[in-house]
Amino acid sequence: MEFIHYFGEVFAPANFLILVFGTIGGLLLGATPGLSPTMAVALLIPFTFQMDPAASLIMLGAVYTATVAGGAVSGILVNIPGAPANIATILDGHPMAKKGRATEALHYCFISSFIGGVIGVLLLIFFTPPLAELALRFGPAELFWIAIFGVTIIASIGGGSVVKGLIAGAVGLWLSTIGYNPVLGEERFVFTDHLAGGIHVIAALIGLFAIPEVLTLVGGAATSRSKVEYAELSTHSVWRSFAYNISRVKALTIGSVVGSFIGVIPGAGGQIAGLVAYDQTKKMSRDPSAFGKGEPDGVIAAESANNAMVGPSLVPLLTLGIPGSPTAAVLLGGLLINGLFPGPDLFTVHAKVTWTFIDSLLVGQLLMMIFGLMIARYSVFVTRVPKHTMAAAVIVLAVFGTYSVQNSVSDVMVMLVLGTLMYFASRIGFSAAPLVLGLILGQLTETNFLQGRMIAGDDAWGYFFAGPINKIVIVMCVLSVAYSVYSERGQIRRRRAQEAT
């Protein structure tokens, strides 16, 4: 029960203030269409440099939690999900809004997010320390395979083409080698002064997530405003919403269980959690035909699932360094910047920071619900911000955020070039998440690869492919790719059948 011991740290004035600001800011960022939680967390990392590690992680965790919930606001009100995790929410949330029940839908969204979120964080609290203990048994070979597993799973499960996901992950690993060899110290691929010292992870994170959003926003800037249909907000008692929400035990249970389970699977993310929970709730409903027409259970299941996913997505991140979602991959960057490396040290050497962060996630769920319910009525204004204004704001934040990392204009150039290339790559089917993960895990992978070779001497093959943990992780890598290939083939068959009809 170590987490109780550090609970007071969350309520230290500075930490609590950061938690409150992070939650409110996250709700507003989440409510803004086009600003994803991943991009919000990436843009915020440079702002946390001046903070101590606990405060900085509290800020990032609060924004992560609140943006996922806040994304439902634009989904319900204007039928544009604020984040991919909220796609399932709009299926019934927007029809409810069109029927004049927008306030009620927003209430269900925040109350369900709170319930699902608390269950998810409790799982994080109880599952993380024992898993971290397991990581003690890992040597360079095991750590190398774990890093490869992280890249393969986020590359293959993220949706779209598996091969393209794996290529993106491998390109991320390659990009991480620009700069110096971590063991021999030799400079590599530095063909311009701007790349001296390599590609800074934060500059890359901001560029890869923010610049494609800017280009997407300006791509549809002038035409989209007129097409958006805004729902009117009516008055509805919070207590009535609360009582009704609590009574929907089946939808809440399905959402929380599915969300927690999917959150633990590295790479799966909130989008899958929300959609699977929605689908299961619909299938188990007495009246499945009501779904899609404004059924509150659809909102409750989807929102409890996507917030239940947040806590468990940090379990593999904090123990093994494998993020459970793209946003968790960005959080990994935040951890490493603060000198915190995933594994058992987090719960021994850095116990205070780690438990304060985890406890803040629990308190953050409550704050998210309270502020969400309070500002739901006003968040509609955020959804009306013109796209070109939002794009301009993101450009400025990205440039200032990147510059402040090392006071370097070169970082800003790298950020812009990577981001612009990523936009075009995304239009031909490549995703930013595996590339970012490859970039983050690259140095860890190479260091363990080279150390393993030194330890192994002439028998490198035997060293990397022997041992039970190595074999298990290799099998997991193969299974994750095989499963993804199998599900991609299913998708292709279904799409072709649809095209044929």
Partner: protein, 149 residues
């Protein structure tokens, strides 16, 4: 249909070319020991890109190409690159103002030019001021100073 197939093949070929380039710069080095990991990774990228090309050639995957309205996007790309090149000369805040003004003016849906200009100047001034307060006053980040501030 043939255009889509040709486009997919062209994309896959482009990926193979880039992968080949990565492999060339990683593998053909004097001190291969220092380049061992990037060489292994580049070889993996090359194999995967060839697999992707084969899948496209045998029509084993779906078309995931999304069009990009480059006609609407090139101005912001030019403004961003121009802005970065001007940071050292004009300073961070003047450049920020200029970039915001240009983006705001160019992409504003407002048709009346004067109103459009007033809105863009207000937005640029507001954001620049907010950035100044946030970075120079609150976070104390040293940014390049040049023209005006």
């Amino acid at each position: 249909m043939r255009i889509v197939f040709g486009r997919r093949l062209a994309v896959a070929l482009l990926v193979v070319l880039v992968a080949g380039l990565l492999f060339k710069v990683s593998y053909f080095q004097e001190n291969l020991e220092a380049y061992l990991f990037p060489a292994v990774v580049a070889a993996t990228v090359l194999c995967l890109s060839l697999l992707s090309l084969a899948r496209e050639a045998f029509d084993l995957c779906i078309d995931d190409f999304q069009p990009f309205p480059i006609g609407r996007q090139w101005p912001v790309i030019v403004i961003m690159i121009g802005g970065v090149l001007l940071i050292d000369t004009l300073g961070m805040y003047s450049t920020t103002f200029l970039v915001l003004l240009l983006v705001g003016y160019w992409y504003s849906p407002e048709e009346a030019l004067r109103r459009r200009l007033v809105q863009s100047v207000s937005m640029a001034a507001g954001f620049s001021l907010a950035m100044y307060v946030l970075f120079s006053i609150l976070l104390n980040v040293q940014v390049p100073r040049g023209f005006l501030i």
